[in-house]
């Protein structure tokens, strides 16, 4: 008898000030029964991963509109590995050109979402990929 609900961190690294998209996604995940920790704006990769550790999050979702996606995803991924969160899902959204998506895949970030993607697709992807055998 375990009652594990998928726990997702939603964060906005960097300096751009729009979090509407991030909040819409957060809302959709909550409606899908997930527990969403919302961190807010202007987060450093360090604070995002520290939060993910304390929260024992299954998923980190980054919302990046500033164009600085490569640096942020790379740094968050590195910190996740270093903190023992290598088995957790890292994904995100923003305006990310196809050639960068390719590079992200090489970093182990399989899928990122753009303005055209529907919310159900995000929910389904997270549901499918968030499972972790080790979780209590």
């Amino acid at each position: 008898m375990t009652d594990r609900r998928i726990k997702v961190i939603i964060a906005k690294p960097g300096l751009d000030g729009h979090d509407r998209g991030a909040k819409v996604v957060a809302r959709a995940l909550v409606e899908a029964g997930m527990e969403v920790v919302y961190l807010g704006l202007q987060q450093s990769p360090e604070s995002i991963v520290r939060a993910a550790v304390d929260e024992d999050a299954d998923v980190i979702g980054l919302s990046i509109l500033s164009g600085a996606h490569m640096t942020n995803f790379r740094r968050v991924k590195e910190l996740m590995e270093a903190s023992g969160l290598g088995d957790r899902l890292l994904t995100g959204g923003g305006i990310i050109p196809t050639r960068d998506q390719e590079k992200l895949r090489e970093l182990g970030i399989d899928k990122v979402f753009g303005p055209g993607d529907d919310l159900q697709g995000i929910v389904d992807y997270i549901r499918e990929r968030a499972g972790r055998p080790s979780k209590g």
Partner: protein, 335 residues
């Protein structure tokens, strides 16, 4: 139930006792997600606890509980305490999901002081906490933290009398919530150890303070020797929080010196032991009988005939002994 396999791996215990932050977080997930593992976890951690003080921060939605909690926790760090925060937000009754937003106001606490902060969804909990919150506090205590702040869900006045799992309760209010004051029952005066009037940068602070003073005069009740202190603060302007923190520390010392701290914990533990025995007996009874199916049928008949359920209950209870004797069979009595 199948043969019990430990829910917590030896590796996780080793990491936890070695001070791994992730192991601490994972142990909280265990008590949150696997209630059947709680006895096993408590067996291991209670001997390691050092009696960390639990400070509850409660109050209506949006009054500034998170901002205040962060401000108090920061002062506790500066005073040399090892600090942790548990922040509870409501679970949606429709989806079972939860939007946990308290961390937004606690960012500096995490960035500058590396304080362990854990958000918890209230799930099936009542009174502003989740069922696992007291156990999460136990985990943090065993992890070596000596000031554990617990922010409740923004609760309505009817629920404000909760938090028996805190050693000390700070009730946060804000101007313009006269209706809340109207509805505060005398019990609140006894449940709260400190009233913090936040957002005193806003209009209406004097009115709120006046009604609080009035409420205390009429409703202090005979059981409490002294009325709880009222502190005026603005978490936004960082005013009044040195005073609030100093007051909390003073109250904590008083609680410890007077023995009330232990007395409160004793009462809590006693009811926990009783509840746990009740649960275990029920599980046993349910496993040994087909009570799960019988009770709905019995209740159906009782409803039709408008009869008291007690004849059935008495019969059920009298069967317990027989069942347990039978189950024990030829095995030896435990020592």
């Amino acid at each position: 139930m199948s043969v019990e396999k430990p829910s917590v791996s030896q590796e996780l215990w080793t990491d936890f006792f070695a001070g791994s932050r992730l192991a601490c977080a994972r142990l909280i997930s265990v008590v949150e997600n696997s209630p059947q593992a709680i006895p096993e976890v408590l067996d291991r951690i209670i001997p390691r606890q050092k009696g960390g003080i639990r400070v509850g921060v409660t109050g209506p939605p949006g009054v500034g509980k998170s901002t205040v909690t962060a401000a108090l926790a920061r002062r506790a760090v500066q005073a040399g305490r090892k600090v942790g925060v548990l922040a509870v937000d409501p679970t949606s009754p429709f989806s079972g999901g939860a939007f946990l937003g308290d961390r937004v106001r606690m960012q500096r606490l995490s960035d500058d002081h590396q304080v362990f902060i854990r958000s918890m969804a209230s799930r099936e909990g009542h009174g502003g906490l989740s069922p696992a919150t007291p156990y999460a506090a136990d985990v943090l205590d065993a992890f070596g933290l000596d000031r554990i702040f617990i922010e409740t869900v923004g609760v309505g006045q009817s629920e404000l009398d909760v938090m028996s799992s805190a050693d000390l309760v700070v009730l946060v209010l804000q101007p313009g919530t006269g209706d809340v004051i109207q509805a505060l029952k005398a019990g609140i005066i006894e449940a709260a150890d400190l009233f913090l009037v936040n957002k005193s940068d806003l209009q209406g602070t004097e009115t709120l303070l006046d009604s609080l003073r009035f409420l205390m005069e009429i409703g202090g009740g005979p059981r409490r020797k002294s009325l709880p202190p009222v502190i005026q603060a603005s978490a936004l302007q960082d005013r009044g929080l040195d005073e609030a923190f100093a007051e909390i520390e003073r109250l904590v010392s008083g609680l410890v010196a007077s023995g009330l701290f232990l007395e409160k914990r004793r009462a809590r533990l006693e009811s926990e032991v009783r509840a746990a025995i009740g649960r275990e007996l029920w599980d046993k009874y349910a496993a040994l009988t087909n009570a799960g199916e019988v009770i709905p049928a019995v209740v159906g008949r009782l409803l039709e005939r408008r009869r008291s359920p007690y004849p059935y209950i008495r019969e059920a209870v009298s069967r317990v002994r027989i069942l347990i004797d039978e189950e024990r069979g030829p095995r030896e009595e435990p020592q």
